[in-house]
């Protein structure tokens, strides 16, 4: 198994006719992912073609889901329209909406998140690299790639990875792959202050997933999501967890690239989070080069 998505998960892409959406739809198709529909309002009836594969484009998410059986959406819609795109997935009862878009107004996300309460659709992101469940082919071909992560760095295996950051996730995944440790699923939850799925949400899924045997959790300064996850891990998690927190050198009050990465109070600092990781039995990576090894130390001894 894996979490959230499997190799045969049927994917639709909102914003498939834009440069960014089209580029990554092509890369997902090249990776062997099941991209079955595109959605661009007003371009329904057109076809997105790549390497001989024809992907029908629909005007609405509901129509795309009904016609193609897509259950998951990758959202590449520009920021002013992205919250609307998320809510359209909720309306269509999709399992999962993955918002890659960076720069969505916080107020739009506050409202969208409130509107999603009690609905079946889960949101990953926004401002995230998406998620990958690696395939079993060469260089993990045949996996489910939703978003912008490089597929080939993955290998199918037993480690779950959750992170706010894109390139830091790739770093961890590549370290694992180079040590012959594959991944069950890698989830980038995004760097915004209001997001759909938290570290803890993903940790709980990994904890229940029979294929996942060990977990890497990557966090950063700002907010208390990593602390909340660490405390839950101490009390409930059955699997070894390694962790890393970025931003030890970040000055207070300055936002470090991600909208959410800003030290507001004394609880938000890297040092405070790392201390709590230690207290909760998480194997802490001293540097970002040490993430896979930190896991192997606690997992394989």
């Amino acid at each position: 198994m894996s979490i959230l998505v499997k190799e045969d998960t049927r994917i639709l892409v909102q914003g498939i006719t834009g440069d960014f959406g089209a580029r990554h739809a092509r890369l997902s198709i090249d990776y062997g992912s099941q991209v079955v529909a595109g959605v661009t309002p007003g371009k329904g009836g057109q076809v997105f073609e790549h390497n001989g594969k024809k992907v029908p484009i629909f005007n609405t998410v509901a129509e795309a889901a009904k016609q193609t059986g897509a259950t998951v959406s990758a959202i590449f819609v520009p920021p002013p329209f992205a919250a609307d795109a998320i809510l359209e997935c909720v309306d269509a009862d999709l399992d999962l909406a993955v918002a890659i878009t960076e720069g969505i107004p916080v107020k739009d996300m506050i409202r969208a998140k409130r509107a999603m309460q009690g609905k079946r659709t889960r949101l990953i992101g926004p401002n995230c690299p998406g998620l990958v469940t690696p395939g079993r082919g060469d260089k993990s071909y045949g996996g489910c790639r939703i978003g912008i992560a490089p597929g080939y760095i993955h290998r199918r295996g037993k480690v779950g990875v959750v992170s706010r950051s894109g390139t830091l996730t790739y770093e961890a995944v590549w370290q694992l792959t180079c040590r012959n440790q594959g991944q069950s699923t890698c989830v980038g939850i995004g760097g915004d202050p209001v997001n759909g799925t938290s570290h803890l949400d993903v940790i709980k899924l990994f904890n229940e997933d029979p294929e996942t045997e060990a977990i890497i959790m990557i966090g950063e300064i700002g907010g208390s999501a990593e602390v909340e996850a660490a405390r839950w891990i101490k009390a409930h998690c059955k699997k070894p967890v390694a962790g890393f927190i970025a931003g030890a050198t970040a000055p207070a009050g300055r936002r470090m690239g991600h909208a959410g990465a800003v030290i507001g109070g004394s609880e938000d600092t890297a040092a405070a989070k790392i201390k709590i990781f230690h207290e909760c039995g998480i194997s802490v990576a001293a540097t970002p080069s040490d993430m896979a090894d930190a896991l192997l130390r606690i997992w394989k001894g």
Partner: protein, 402 residues
């Protein structure tokens, strides 16, 4: 995006939040005219306008003490303003280099109300995002005029919070809860409910990231006034608020950060001597961390984004080299989808164009990395290759500390 106090108060006034009357100017020639528009029966306040807190306790580099001063007379107000305008104010939040004061804000001085124990009758009020619940939260306290973090630490029972359900907005009972918690009665109770309601309306309609009023004051005449105002806006929402964008003061921003943003680069200057150039915010932060871990000191945060084109890399090198403290550069790129060889060519071109003389360590990983490393090696330039982040960080620290 941050704005000045005088701009924030003008917006408050638009939304019906009571503020002391005031006038701002960038020119000393207008001082007298500004002061003539203000009722000075209780005296005047002269306030330096910079985007940093701690102004009252700050000191100017010319020796003048206080970025916010009371003046009993118009003459004294003029004198204070002359001492402030055009001079550099150093506060706890500006860093040692301070900020040049380019705007002076004159306001009427309020007649501070007193509590039975003799203290000024000052409160605290703020609205911001509560990240734990993804809802706006209004924070209020009976202890105004001091650092709210200290109050929260020492006397948490004096901090009151109301979270607003975004589906329905702020409810009247919530504004009443806060006004009761702050101990207001009668006319002041009504004023408080009104002020909280209007301030929330401003926060929500204008996509503010944070609104802080410290202190919120009761005057001897029984009026509730926002004596100070600190407002920042959500950068992501500026596209729908051209009136807010018009308030941007580029003088208050780092010129290198502005230059960087033109190339889609996110740059923040720090105090160290090892510059870094990285793709991705999380990786950029942790590159700074690993430099420090191995005994070095990072000179900046620089995220070139997911792309990292040759133009961007060249622009990034120029910005980095504009910092005289920089003694070496670490480039750390995880080219997941981009071709590492394209990035390597960009680095070589940038080094040649900028005539770089400082030590440079490059750590490339990802797609077509072998070709990228070959390009660096055959460039004829002294570029040191790092195999991992740890290896690269150790190498640049060693080169810089040599």
């Amino acid at each position: 995006m941050n704005i000045h106090e005088y701009q924030a108060k003008a917006l408050f006034a638009q939304f019906g939040v009571a503020v002391p009357k005031g006038v701002a100017t960038q020119s000393s020639a207008e001082f007298a005219q500004c002061l003539s528009q203000i009722d000075g029966k209780n005296g005047y306040m002269v306030k330096s306008q910079i985007h940093a807190g701690g102004r009252g306790k700050g000191t100017f580099t010319n020796g003048f003490k206080g970025g916010v001063k009371f003046a009993p007379t118009r003459e004294k107000a003029l004198e204070h303003a002359q001492a402030m305008l055009g001079n550099t104010l150093v506060t706890a939040q500006t860093g040692a280099e301070g900020r040049k004061v380019q705007t002076i804000y004159f306001t009427e001085a309020a007649n501070l109300g007193k509590r039975p124990d003799g203290r000024d009758d000052e409160y605290y009020l703020a609205i911001l995002l509560d990240r734990a619940t993804s809802q706006p939260v209004i924070v209020a306290s009976t202890e105004g005029g001091v650092e709210i973090e200290q109050v929260a630490h020492a006397t948490p029972e004096k901090i009151f919070k109301v979270r607003v359900d975004p589906a329905v907005g702020l409810q009247a009972y919530q504004a009443r809860q806060l006004a009761f918690a702050l101990g207001f009665k009668g006319e002041l109770f009504k004023q408080c409910v009104n002020l909280v309601t209007k301030l929330y309306q401003f926060y929500w309609e204008k996509d503010a990231a944070m609104v802080e009023v410290n202190p919120l004051l009761v005057t001897q005449e029984g009026q509730l006034l926002a004596l100070d105002a600190k407002v920042s806006f959500d950068d992501n929402a500026l596209f729908r608020h051209p009136d807010v964008v018009a308030l941007r003061d580029l003088n208050e921003e780092d010129s290198k950060e502005i230059e960087a943003s033109k190339f889609g680069l996110s740059y923040i200057a720090l105090d160290g001597n090892i510059a870094c150039l990285v793709n991705g915010a999380g990786l950029a932060m942790s590159t700074m961390d690993i430099i420090q871990h191995f005994g070095g000191s990072p000179a900046n945060f620089l995220d070139v984004g997911g792309g990292a084109s040759q133009d961007q890399v060249t622009a990034a090198f120029k910005i980095i080299l504009g910092d005289p403290n920089v003694k070496g550069i670490l480039v750390n790129i995880f080219g997941g989808i981009m071709d590492c060889n394209v990035i390597a060519s960009g680095i070589v071109a940038a080094v040649k164009e900028t005539g770089l003389k400082l030590p440079l360590v490059v750590r490339l990983e990802g797609n077509n990395v072998e070709a990228g490393k070959a390009t660096l090696a055959s460039s004829g330039l002294t570029i040191v290759s790092g195999d991992s982040m740890a290896d690269a960080a150790q190498k640049i620290v060693k080169l810089v500390n040599k």
